[in-house]
């Protein structure tokens, strides 16, 4: 089951780190980094059902997770 309730211990710090990871990159390099990040996280999650829920939610954030 995909966790959609707040799950980050230090959200501001985590968000800042995400943005800082892109520091100094061109837009193309940033897109490439994002793609690598998605793939790394997908592999970490592994569970196809959770990934499917995440993919649907990303495509349509307004829908309830199913």
């Amino acid at each position: 089951m995909l966790i959609t309730a707040p799950n980050l211990t230090r959200p501001d710090e985590t968000y800042q780190r995400l943005i800082a990871t892109h520091d100094g990159l061109t837009e193309a390099d940033s897109h490439a980094l994002n793609a690598r990040l998605v793939l790394i996280l997908m592999n970490h999650i592994g569970d196809q059902q959770v990934l499917d829920q995440a993919l649907r939610l990303a495509r349509d954030p307004g829908r309830a997770p199913d």
Partner: protein, 538 residues
Amino acid sequence: MNDLGPERYKLAFRLYPYARSPDQDAPTPTRHKVIVAGGGPVGLATALDLGRRGVPVVLLDDHEGAGLGSRALCFAKRTLEICDRLGAAGPMLEKGVQWNVGKVFHDDRLLYEFNLLPEGGHAFPAFINLQQPWFEKFLHDAILAAQAEGAPIELRGRNRVDAVTPSADHVTLDIMTPDGPYQLKADWLIACDGARSPLRGMLGLSFDGRVFEDNFLIADVKMKADFPTERWFWFEPHFKSGDSALLHKQPDDIWRIDFQLGWNIDRAKELEPANIRARVDAMLGPDVDYELDWCSIYTFQCRRMDRFRHGRVLFAGDSAHQVSPFGARGANSGIQDVDNLAWKLALVLDGTAPDSLLDSYDAERVQGADENILNSTRATDFITPKTPVSKIFRNAVLTLAEHLPFARTLVNSGRLSLPCTYDGSALNGPDHPDMPPRARPGSPCPDAPVPGGWLLGHLGRTFTLLTVNQTAPDSLYAHGLTVPCLAVEATPEITARYLGTAQGAVYLIRPDQHVAARWDHFDESAVAAALARAIGKA
């Protein structure tokens, strides 16, 4: 058309020269049991399989043998197992090239190497590389051997089918030969006449799917110097061939090189030897000495017919379904069509099974074709990303693959052709939960070593009852069929592949070596019921 015209292509081997048949002088069209149209790998294998089952078969081809050019090159393990049942695998294995090491490059960087390390305990390797004309020649050699033993197979070269007229219980064919036209009738017609299938066109049947806008240049080069027997695949190669390039080895010191050229190309210009040599030089480096052996440019589509059975006409191989070359699923899936069709047609012809058994050919092989189309479409989309964002993800996978094994599992330059498991087939009987999923009903039997050889070599070409830790009679008789029983020891391979954690195992195996049903104990009435189901009687 009132004459045969010149040959459309050159031959590598002239196998069945034209000879006038008495049928051409018959006052009324001779009626045959089965006519096979097309003498490529699928047509030859169909004639061979039917003939070895004692079914009289006439094969018609508008040429007289195997066309020039390596074309289908990778023959997978299941194909070799089927050819072994047909008595043709030995020379294929001897002539074919085996390889285990592959290298994947992006631009000018080696990302990683892999070793296939195939599972032990199988008679045949994961696949071999062998030029298509040789594959056809070895099938033809097996046909000659079968004919010598009385198999009723007849091959007619320079016999072009010009028209087909379907009737309720037969078809009529108009045929053109060097001596002019004649007609034949057949109870069953098997159309193995390739991706452009004239028969499909004559019957007005559609062939829909996805067109990939790309051209591929094949250059077969002969190299004198040692060059490793490895498969090299480039994404976005530095030598600017387009989106990909592939190098792998054939017999006779020949290497197959595939260059992806893109859609808008000048075909004639790309085929000029100087232009091909410029590409090959850039790929191999300046110091490699080679000769161009054979070159061709091709495009491909992923598509299939809605149905492979149309009354008394059955389509097999590329005439029924077409895939991209990535993953070697063209000829290999065609041979699986043959494997599926021949025993069913033989049982229908001798009255053992109802005509409806042939509908299961359609259902099972459409399932196989869809699986192949899915796999080859996925590989094509990975190799040639269709949108900017899919290219970003593709290149992200390649970047990660240089360092991280998980990303290598996502790199898709064509997946190994594996035979289809007919999950959900109407022919499947009971399953047992304690046995390995890989041998569930619908699966092709995994091979295993047994005393004196290999399991698949002991299965023969009829239904077989395989038992492990169970006693059964030497043979059973039910529904018009004699089913021999084969008892095997629970060796480590048999346990892993068949027994699982069950106390005993009883497998009903179809003539195409797919599992029909399995139980943990022998029960004759259960076996008879599953047999009825497997021949379409239930």
